[in-house]
Symmetry: C2
Subunit: 352 residues, 2 copies
């Protein structure tokens, strides 16, 4: 009998951490000890995982002793500092921050798309992609394998939980301010009702859409838009793929949606694309508009797959497909993909 590896969950008390503990409790159990790490102020709290109460331990160097795999769900700067420490203590790190995603010595892995990449990790770190990229990349990876991707134009409809618990709290507070009112029909009336405190968003998000996510990069691009472009290129192994993205926040609690205009190397057919998506692991094809079937966040939230609907061939370009995709940004978009990567690493123990 092989030894089961020890797992550390760093950031166990955060929004993604909470979903991670659910996922670890639901999936086939490949882990020996599961150790929960968080900032010192959360130490001593008890959280349920695999049906047991586990006490949260403060994040220290020693906390990584004996850890085989450490999953990080913490801010970029915390990951940048602590991931190398965990590696030095002997752990393989699976990091869900942006700190290492574009490091050429760190693989960026989506198990349905590029599982092989997980084994080449010179820094001992494997990165988990951004939630917006993960919303579409499993479906696109399957289509790319058949048709050869040539260009992407993407628009997002991003849920507030992508900005963490503060994002959810902000939308819930704003919902209470507008329910039962006539707000939303006069210039600035929603803004005045919401007041100065718009939470982590630059504008009110209730009865509104906000064309901004992340921080400002060069030439007017947002960091979120650059992530979708750069990470998609790296995961698909297409370093020069043209990718145009506009990221927009919408008043949805959890589950990102994206419209995708995907151009391929040659002519495509909807029939073949449907076959590919209907059989691709991790994808559910939900596409029968005559029967009112297409994915929406309200139905997709809490589920694992990438849901694909509204599949059409571009009317004026036989090489392009249109898709509407939804994915739970806290599950496949964060915790689930991280857990899947960690399981790929854990499988190396079984192979030994």
């Amino acid at each position: 009998m092989t030894r089961k590896p020890t797992l550390a969950v760093v950031g166990a008390t955060g929004a993604v951490g909470a979903v991670m503990l659910q996922i670890l409790s639901q999936r086939a159990d490949v882990w020996g000890e599961i150790r929960l790490l968080a900032s010192p102020r959360s130490a001593g709290r008890k959280l349920a995982v695999r049906g047991e109460e586990v006490e949260v331990v403060a994040l220290t160097e020693e906390a990584f002793d004996g850890v085989d795999v450490a999953m990080f769900d913490v801010p970029d700067e915390v990951a940048a500092q602590w991931a190398p420490i965990a590696v030095a203590r002997g752990a393989v790190v699976v990091d869900n921050s942006a700190a290492f995603r574009l490091d050429p010595e760190v693989p960026l892995v989506v198990p349905e798309v590029n599982p092989h990449a997980v084994r080449t990790r010179p820094r001992g770190i494997v990165a988990n992609p951004n939630c917006t990229t993960l919303t579409m990349i499993v479906a696109l990876g399957a289509l790319h394998a058949e048709f050869g991707l040539r260009e992407l134009v993407v628009s997002s409809y991003q849920a507030v939980s992508g900005a963490g618990r503060a994002g959810v709290d902000a939308l819930r507070a704003q919902l209470s301010l507008v329910a039962g009112t006539e707000l939303g029909t006069k210039p600035g009336d929603v803004r005045r009702a919401v007041g100065e405190d718009t939470g982590p968003f630059p504008e009110p998000v209730v009865l509104n859409v906000v064309p901004w996510a992340g921080s400002l990069r060069e030439d007017g691009w947002s960091s979120e838009e650059m992530k979708v472009r750069d990470e998609s290129r790296k995961i698909l192994g297409l370093p020069r793929l043209p990718v145009a993205v506009t990221c927009v926040r919408v008043p949805v609690i959890t589950t990102h949606s994206l419209t995708v205009h995907a151009r391929f190397q040659g002519e495509v057919t909807v029939d073949r694309a449907r076959e590919i998506l209907a059989t691709a692991p991790g994808v559910v094809l939900c596409d029968d508009p005559a029967a009112g079937e297409y994915p929406t966040p309200a139905d997709v939230v809490g589920t694992d797959p990438t849901w694909v609907g509204r599949l059409r061939r571009a009317l004026d370009d036989p090489t392009a497909l249109e898709l509407f995709v939804c994915g739970d940004n806290l599950r496949k978009g964060a915790a689930l993909n991280t857990a899947q990567i960690a399981e790929l690493v854990a499988a190396e123990w079984a192979d030994r």
Copy 2:
């Protein structure tokens, strides 16, 4: 002194009609009599226009006697039946339904883009475009005049008032059901809370986005998506322009937003595009992300112009621009553009 033309407003009691009466009260007054027409059950109601109470008259053939210009804000089938009757009685019809928009003998007019087209109207009818097309077409018309448009990829974030008063009522009712709850985090919880009655939408629209607007056309396209493509081509005089559109409903009361990926005939610069948009009639450039400036529906609602923000050149294609545009779907998207067309027609009286 020339005679001021007589105007009829057909559908004066509807959602667009109400905005039309406001607009007629706000704009320079070019009209003699303004006659309000609606279905017989609304006859006798009094509505305010130009500071006076005007009694609504039932829609009959005789009601058009003496009318010079008749604006129609009614369902397609009502317009199809009654517009020719109004023309036969001597009126020029400006129709906001889809009944005549693609008729080659009916011009489809946006006064900032193709005002000249209004004069060639063999059927005596001028059509007003769909609200989604109107959200972007003024800005795109200005850019096209300089750069020459070659392709459009568009995604919409459409307000519920695009589906009329029933759409607004549905969202308001749904807001009251979710405010103060933890809904939006479990599969189907929003759907269960909203129940079977989702108003004019196929799914709950609160805490959700719904990738559908209109009725089903061939190959999975929605009527709304086909309108954006076909109407944009006609207005811009580019009958073969490739246009890929995905229309999505969002929980916003009024003001449609669109992301636009616009490819032009040659290389473009953001600096020149900014100059064009900053001086284009009917366009406000609101684009300084460093200062948190970009248009959102909450700020744009109730205003007349097309608001443009997030202007960027595609990172991987020097011939393409990205834009985020917002426009009030009841004003420029419907009543305002109809009023502007009617004023172009009225100007012919002054020229006589």
